[in-house]
Symmetry: C2
């Protein structure tokens, strides 16, 4: 297979506005959902003056850190969970004559970097100068295989430029926990590093490591092999196994050395220790009798399949096109694919937010996978089922009789939020998960998932809300209220009846009802002990759910008392004071009508039916001016909302900013990792915004509103067993059924019943 490098799939250093090192380490990280490798300087890994944050991260491999509280109250999480920063597989040691890169720290200049998103290969050229002035080029190719989850490949080419001399190449990983230079004081960053132990295991034909954590009691294994001229297995001066080659380098002559790493799964510590041999045998198999090139090609083929089903082709907007591809590429790089892990908020490109999973996955990233890769979407949802029992325990520990209390942020399912007003209080996480399950089921019709996993989550989350909320009189009417919560907007906290939360919970309750008949008298229903009385009470709660509304302005109220909050005049705030959370005490923000991110507007976007365009317009006009978009999850949502109410220009502006969050480093913190939720939200901008898709209870409709500058946008999606391809032009939509039996879809009001007989249709609008 020979893949032509198409420029519209290349992230090229020259096209990036920022050349800041930590930013580039994130942007050019390679990952496959199991692990990620930051784009470190390969010669500087153990240089104490190196300002980078190199690292290999394994999804779900974390250690515990005791959280420090000024005042610690009952029920606070004891431990934070922080993804481990492992030894950097990019690191290499090179000696030229009597100079040693690990001692003399050669000067490394980046000549070029390019990420080919078609193949997932990162290609780099460095110009290296030794202290004595010897210059050589270092060409590095690397990838994280999406075909074999354990495999990471890296190839080094060395070309002496101005000398002939003895060259020694040494590849030994005898360090972990590279120093990071970050001096950022930013509450959103968690720079704690893993207290890892790295043990060399003797008796193998290649360097083999056992990685174990101290407090979380996890273990993983790692091994690597190499090939290249004169490359031999050896022990270095520290008695560590690795590879080295010594040869006489000649000006202009390139020598290549390639290494394949096999990076194991995460096990309980005791298993990792006891079965290390068995695991290593399997890990070795992945990189035996193969080569950098064949592994790369195998992976590239999977990337091809990914792009085939998942690409979004925009005609007329090359910048946005490239950004969108980057986003989709990163989403796929970040997504855990083993049913035990989810998608960290920063992908596997950094340890911002400690490698935790948030609601970002279910609300902002999952839709992309549901429509383009439903098998993967299912695996991601399975993580929530795997941690259901933990969520159930948490609900009981909190003081409730039952239900499941999912954590606001976590790796292993246990709440790891150190600040409950913007953590544990965001109880909408439960309903976010239930919403995602329903969305998945609506698009896939996957009965297996609903019957064996999904409905149980829907019931247990609903039960949690029945415990948290209560019936009470509001304006003399009996209502179901949900007090003392925090909605998505983190510039408000500990409010009563957050509209978004209540709306989501109502939906959660409705789901219990909707499927109650289906599960009547089933084993599941018996096991859950779901009685008609309980179902009635849930129905009553849904019927009476309080949804705060301003009768004067006729807008939805973010929460019950939102209307009476102080108006914060954003126009009077200095530009340097954004994001506000870094410049104001929480109480200054909580007191005010000011939003960090879409909250009520997100409810409008997630529940597009049942509201008139006028009402959506009023909501938009009310919330848009008070929203700072200090969260990267905000603009894409506003883009969708704007598209729906026909504010095309505003929509495009929001979208084009949202989609470039990381590429433009617009939140100034891409250094800590990509904004995976934002990347997913950008796809939602195209799909729900410009394509105008609404998918409700089995009816798929599309009401496109193409940005003025776009000639067309083309994408594929799966609906049930069928795959469709859509091309949306300014005034018409071309749709084809690619596979499957087809289902009814509605485009711009026109019903399209495509089938294998007539698989294509053009709808004018």
């Amino acid at each position: 297979m020979r893949i032509e490098q198409r420029p519209e799939f290349q992230i090229h250093l020259q096209n990036l506005k920022s050349k800041e090192q930590l930013y580039l380490e994130t942007i050019f990280s390679v990952a496959n959902g199991h692990f990620g490798v930051r784009d470190s300087n390969p010669l500087q890994g153990n240089n104490p003056n190196y300002r980078g944050t190199p690292g290999l991260f394994i999804n779900g491999f974390y250690d515990y850190y005791e959280i420090q509280y000024g005042e610690k109250y009952t029920g606070y999480p004891v431990n934070d969970q922080v993804i481990n920063r492992l030894c950097d597989p990019r690191y290499i040691r090179i000696k030229i004559g009597d100079e040693d890169s690990s001692v003399n720290y050669f000067k490394v200049d980046t000549v070029d970097k390019n990420m080919d998103m078609q193949t997932g290969m990162l290609h780099e050229i460095f110009s290296v100068t030794t202290p004595q002035g010897k210059i050589f080029n270092l060409i590095v190719e690397s990838f994280a295989s999406v075909e074999a989850a354990n495999v990471y490949g890296i190839k080094y080419g060395i070309v002496p430029i101005n000398f002939d001399d003895e060259v020694e190449v040494i590849k030994v990983h005898d360090y972990v926990n590279q120093k990071t230079s970050s001096t950022v004081s930013d509450v959103r960053v968690n720079e704690s590093q893993g207290h890892l132990q790295l043990d060399f295991l003797d008796g193998y034909e290649q360097p083999s490591y056992l990685l174990t954590t101290y407090k979380s009691q996890q273990g993983s294994l790692l091994t690597f092999n190499g090939s290249g001229p004169k490359l031999t297995y050896f022990k270095d001066e520290n008695n560590h196994w690795g590879y080295h080659a010594t040869y006489f380098g000649k000006k202009g002559t390139q020598k290549e050395f390639e290494f394949l790493f096999s990076i194991g799964a995460v096990y309980p510590l005791v298993n990792a220790q006891m079965y290390a041999d068995q695991y290593l045998v399997k890990l070795n198999e992945d990189i035996k009798n193969t080569s950098f090139k064949s592994e790369l090609m195998a992976s590239a083929q999977v990337w091809q399949t990914f792009w085939l089903h998942s690409d979004v082709e925009i005609d007329g907007d090359p910048e946005v096109q490239l950004s969108l591809r980057f986003n989709l590429f990163e989403l796929y790089q970040s997504a855990g694919k083993d049913s035990h892990t989810s998608i960290p908020a920063k992908g596997l490109s950094g340890n911002g937010y400690g490698g935790h999973y948030f609601w970002d996955t279910e609300i902002f990233m999952l839709p992309f996978f549901i429509y383009t890769n439903p098998e993967l979407a299912k695996k991601i949802l399975m993580y929530r089922y795997e941690t259901l029992s933990v969520a159930e325990q948490q609900s009981t520990q909190f003081g409730f009789k039952g239900g499941a209390m999912y954590p606001w942020r976590s790796i292993n399912g246990v709440e790891a939020s150190a600040y409950w007003p913007a953590g544990t209080a965001q109880i909408h996480i439960d309903a976010d998960i239930a919403y995602a399950i329903e969305q998945y089921y609506e698009v896939t019709g996957d009965d297996d998932f609903l019957d064996n996993y999904g409905y149980e989550i829907i019931v247990e989350t609903a039960r949690f809300y029945m415990e948290w909320g209560n019936f009470a009189k509001i304006n003399d009417q009996r209502r179901f209220v949900i007090n003392r919560v925090t909605g998505p907007d983190e510039y408000s906290a500990v409010v009563d009846n957050n509209y978004f939360t209540n709306k989501m919970v109502k939906f959660n309750f409705r789901m219990v009802q909707k499927y109650a008949k289906r599960f009547e008298n089933t084993e599941l229903s018996k096991r859950l002990g779901l009685s008609p009385k309980e179902l009635n009470r849930i129905k009553e709660a849904a019927d009476l759910m309080y949804l705060p509304f301003d009768n004067e302005k006729k807008v939805k109220l973010q929460d019950q008392n939102f209307k009476q909050m102080n108006k914060l005049d954003l126009s009077k705030i200095d530009n340097n004071d954004f994001p506000l959370l870094l410049h104001y005490h929480p109480l200054m923000l909580y007191r005010s009508q000011v939003n960090k991110q879409a909250d009520t507007i997100l409810a409008d976007v997630l529940f597009p039916s049942g509201y008139s365009e006028d009402e959506l317009m009023r909501d938009f006009d009310f919330y848009e001016p008070i929203t700072t978009h200090d969260s990267s999850l905000s603009q894409a949502v506003f883009a969708i909302a704007a598209a729906r109410v026909g504010k095309q220009d505003q929509s495009y502006n929001f979208f084009s900013q949202a989609i470039q969050t990381d590429i433009l480093n617009s939140h100034h913190n891409t250094a800590n990792g990509i904004h995976a939720g934002s990347l997913g939200a950008a796809w939602e901008g195209v799909f729900y915004g410009f394509a105008g898709v609404i998918n409700n209870a089995g009816t798929f409709t599309m009401n496109p509103k193409l940005p003025a500058r776009w000639n067309s946008v083309k994408f594929r999606i799966f609906l049930y067993d069928s795959e469709y391809i859509f091309t949306i032009y300014e005034h018409e939509v071309h749709v084809s059924l690619l596979s499957g039996t087809g289902t009814t879809i509605t485009i711009a009001g026109a019903k399209c019943d495509l089938d294998n007989e007539s698989p294509e249709q053009v709808v004018k609008y």
Copy 2:
């Protein structure tokens, strides 16, 4: 002077129900407002196995500790302030033959302890057994002088019981920061200890120390002298100066050694260092040419004066009588008397709450001093004026244009609360201070204070609230609202329009208005820049202040949404699960109608006018069943409220529990220090509750409701320049004017215009 030991003024070990060591260390601590000394085991101070928490605390002498936050947001306090635990002046080293108490750790049994509250002297007898079985009695007398603030006296008597042997007495203080054994995990305790440096200063005739803190950059000085048979100044084996005496002890023969400490003020570090000589000269003067006995007598005389004006004599309830005396005694022991310090929440009897001052001072302790010792009350209020500029800075830093934001808890005026929802959010502290100023002025008519200090505070606190609050529509009516605050009840937090807060702020606004005319065109008014426009706006805010009310139940609502909160059924909660804060996540409590302490009821108590008894009754009946009294500030307030609505038995029950908070250790944490606020609140129970005093804008009224078991209660108070004595019997009140020109007072509806001509009256009721 010879003071007869009256039993009703003795706190005697035998009469205490708990003999737990840490509890006794608190109960028998001696203090004078400048410093306090816990009742440690005098021989065990440097024994690592000693389970006590010995300590000398100087009011206002603290060090900083960086507060650790799991997630640290903008504007959070950087440092906690923790009162320093200094070297224990009770410590003594005794050698018997070849046994050394500082090495062999003699066994010390308490034979007796007695605090004579008439003189402030603590008298103790210990029976000490050496490892070799030698037994001697150790008799210790000690006091903190209320006559000379620097002076602490301690006298040791040694009586060999079963041996004749060489005895050596050594008094050297060469250690600080005694180990504490506390393993309590209680958010209300701050067990951090001072990083003190203790320097011996050479060249003095007695041991002299410079005490300096590392981070807060404070310093103090301390010196002591001794006298006794063969006692000489010497250097010990560690080269530290002190005193020792060697003599041959004979069975049954007592030798006495007495020491006077002079404990300096708190200075900026650089002053303490630079002027150490001068300060020491003065400190020495306090203990030169005097003796333990004469210092004790001088102090006892001040105590006599204290009891003369401040005692409350109850006939018919000896247990309550003794507890009440203990409370008043502790209040006077705890109160800072130098205008630079206030009253720590735990007095100077322990370092619970870090030695911080809270609203406890102004709302719960100050009334006792205002009525019985107005000069001292003024000094305590001066602390707030001294820290006004810090409060002004805090308001500006928070983001406001002006105003003063007093700290919820602090020593030096800077907010030291590590948990803002139950700290900084309790913005009622500002109005609490303004309320206390008005109360002080109403009782004393002290124009100097109002003109030069008080009004400025009233204005700046009002300005703060004008910034925090805003006008908004509530139920279609324009109102002034105060959102996102926490009222006194710490089982609710971050609420909107807390009734108590709004009522207090309204009062604060009204005070600005009330005195506006008085200050019109004054220098002060010009300096403050108080314009008619601003005054009008403050008036408008007061007029429109929103005070949430339940129109159905006709009760005041603790906050705007309180009615819709979940009902927590206290009867279903296990007794071991109180206090709830140690067993439930904050959100479990905040979601519920459950009170830690009086909140709305406190508003009823502080503003007794204008409400019908029916309304007060309804409030009481609504809030009483949902209040856990997990705060020690609660029961006394309920006692007053109950008395006012004629629930005499309930009132007495609340009162008798409140008054014994520390004596009975009913909150199980007296070990960390007394509950000074609770002690003061108990006096309020007598005064505002049973005596039924209401003092509003110059009209003093009394409507007594004596507990059934009391024959009478007798007390004195000051009103303006006059002192009165009241004796309240079941159906009559005897009142006499003791000094001053008299003012109009109303007793049970009858006006009493006492003057020097007719200074006595009997009113029947």
